[in-house]
Symmetry: C2
Subunit: 369 residues, 2 copies
Amino acid sequence: MDKRATIKDVAEAAGVGVATVSRVLSGGSASPHTRERVLAVAAQLDYRPSALGRNLRQRRTGGMGLLVPDLTDTFYAQLAEGVLACARSAGEPVLLGSTGGDPEQEAELIGMLLEQSVDRLIAVPSGDEETWAPAIRAGMTVVFADHLPAPPSPVSYSGPFSGPSSGPSSGDDPAVRSVHDLMLLDGLSAAPRSRPLDAPSVVADDRAGIRTAVRYLRGLGHKRIAFLGGPGHDRRAAAFGEAVGAPVDEELVVFGTGSRDSAYAAASGLFQSRPDLSAVVAGGNVLGEAAVLAARELDLRVPRDVSLVMYDDVPWAELCSPPLTVIAQPGRDMGYRAAELVLRSGARKPRSVVLPTELIIRGSCGPHR
Amino acid sequence: MDKRATIKDVAEAAGVGVATVSRVLSGGSASPHTRERVLAVAAQLDYRPSALGRNLRQRRTGGMGLLVPDLTDTFYAQLAEGVLACARSAGEPVLLGSTGGDPEQEAELIGMLLEQSVDRLIAVPSGDEETWAPAIRAGMTVVFADHLPAPPSPVSYSGPFSGPSSGPSSGDDPAVRSVHDLMLLDGLSAAPRSRPLDAPSVVADDRAGIRTAVRYLRGLGHKRIAFLGGPGHDRRAAAFGEAVGAPVDEELVVFGTGSRDSAYAAASGLFQSRPDLSAVVAGGNVLGEAAVLAARELDLRVPRDVSLVMYDDVPWAELCSPPLTVIAQPGRDMGYRAAELVLRSGARKPRSVVLPTELIIRGSCGPHR
DNA sequence: TTGAAAGCGCTAACAC
DNA sequence: GTGTTAGCGCTTTCAA
């Protein structure tokens, strides 16, 4: 009773050839009588086809890979739940990897997936286009979620903790691109880019989300609004620059590197260096968390002293007092849709999807005073 | 340039047999000269052994499965990060499944893992011992994390949303065991159990954690202390019963079923049915979140009207105002240790691990008044 | 409609 | 120390 039945066992017990069993079980043609017989025997032997044999034969592992920077970031957890839900309903396995936002770990994990012959991958990318081009050229079907890989930058900016991130202004850190540069990314300029990667993706409508938030804050009378971003928030920062309009005060756009510590340092630095700001847009929930903590530490009241809008709606946003006003993006849906795309990729080249955001007004924004 | 090199390609290019290549690459014996030559050729061809062939040959897939109830529960996300960290450093893939706390989905996912020939599994179990016995008998090495599967109950209590959970007292729901029953689980009685499953596990020292919290609340003068639990919190509830001592007021021990809605309903029901309680111990972060929300909705101030201690330290615990006093358990470490156990399971039957908890006093508890 | 047979890439006996 | 060979369980031609 130890080892499982193989297709051969079923074939013998049913008095047919293995090919027939294989056909029946994968919905091929067979006479009603044979089919019934095979099915009965298979059930009786509790036969379950081994993925091992099939995978080797087809030279590919089923299922899909999923790469995210950090599961304790609730947004990525939501996204992962969406992917898992879709995969589960398709009966497909998911190989998960957490990159820590580090392109090197990401590359290692891609290598691992290649070794496993997993050729479908959903990724919230940390590395840039150069990192990803090989995987795609190797024949992997990659669907990016949340954002696309950044274009390769001449200034190498790699690794999550490679540069000082606590500087209050982007000007202190050569690795942090200026808002103007970021706006170029967003297609606002004709700056030539080396063969942009055209991979399908599922992202939120960052531009609309940010624009709505900025307009809302403007409507409350805020003039000095800051943006607090993290890795992968380039598009959001660009949208922010666009929304506030030129001239952009570059000291008001600050980036952390992905860790909670760095986010806190960035937020704290921002508040200290620019006490004149009256509102902050945080590019993700980890940054929002950092902003709340830093504000509290500096005795800044929300929203009396500073208004806050956070990207990502997470359960704890309501727990803060006051509850946080957020730009909600459908994390779970994004994951689900990405999984659908990658699974249906057999048919035709999947097209990208942009999902709507929603400004949910709670209590963390008040009138400028 | 399309297809990857196989072991045969390497063997031919190096002028040796495939067995030699296999040996060299897996650290077997070979002459220095041969070894060097093979390694050089392999590197030159960019050869990466395919897991497909190896898996089939060894009739087992490497890596490990990981089953958790819900990744958006930050504690499970931390645990998963620990598992992933260990797996990554071992170069092993992780197949992730989210069960939603539903034994049926859990069983399906176990079936999927069996089909993939994954024989090592880390699980935060939802089903009971009966659910798990088959998998273990089938030869899977299972390490349980956070808690063990519940013993099979004569009253079938299955599925996350199978029963009304919003009742304010456990007495309303026949599926919810009484505190006395729960204390039996904890070995406080000699009630005979059917062949208890002896699988290795990595859990927190729930009893000490809960006891410390209850003593702390007692020290603040609280007499009517409630416990708000969820699936898998049986041991915690039992420890609670033990810590408050007989006679246990059973109305003060309430369970949700795992969803945020049910947790909120349970918390709200508890507060409304027993306005005389002055402190609550929440058995997990989702329940703590629910307690804060329910208290706010009912205009109960924390900690003035009700003190709160939450199991799990999560980043947002500090964001609440007042910041939440918590029983911290090392989620990431638990995952890491569990992964170590399951990976080293080849050597000898792994022994269970109990990790310490720590009461972190913040601001959500005050003196009884 | 069905069966026999050829592998997929790898490891482990076994022979040299 | 090294090569030859026999499969692992499955799918897929190719004949019958």
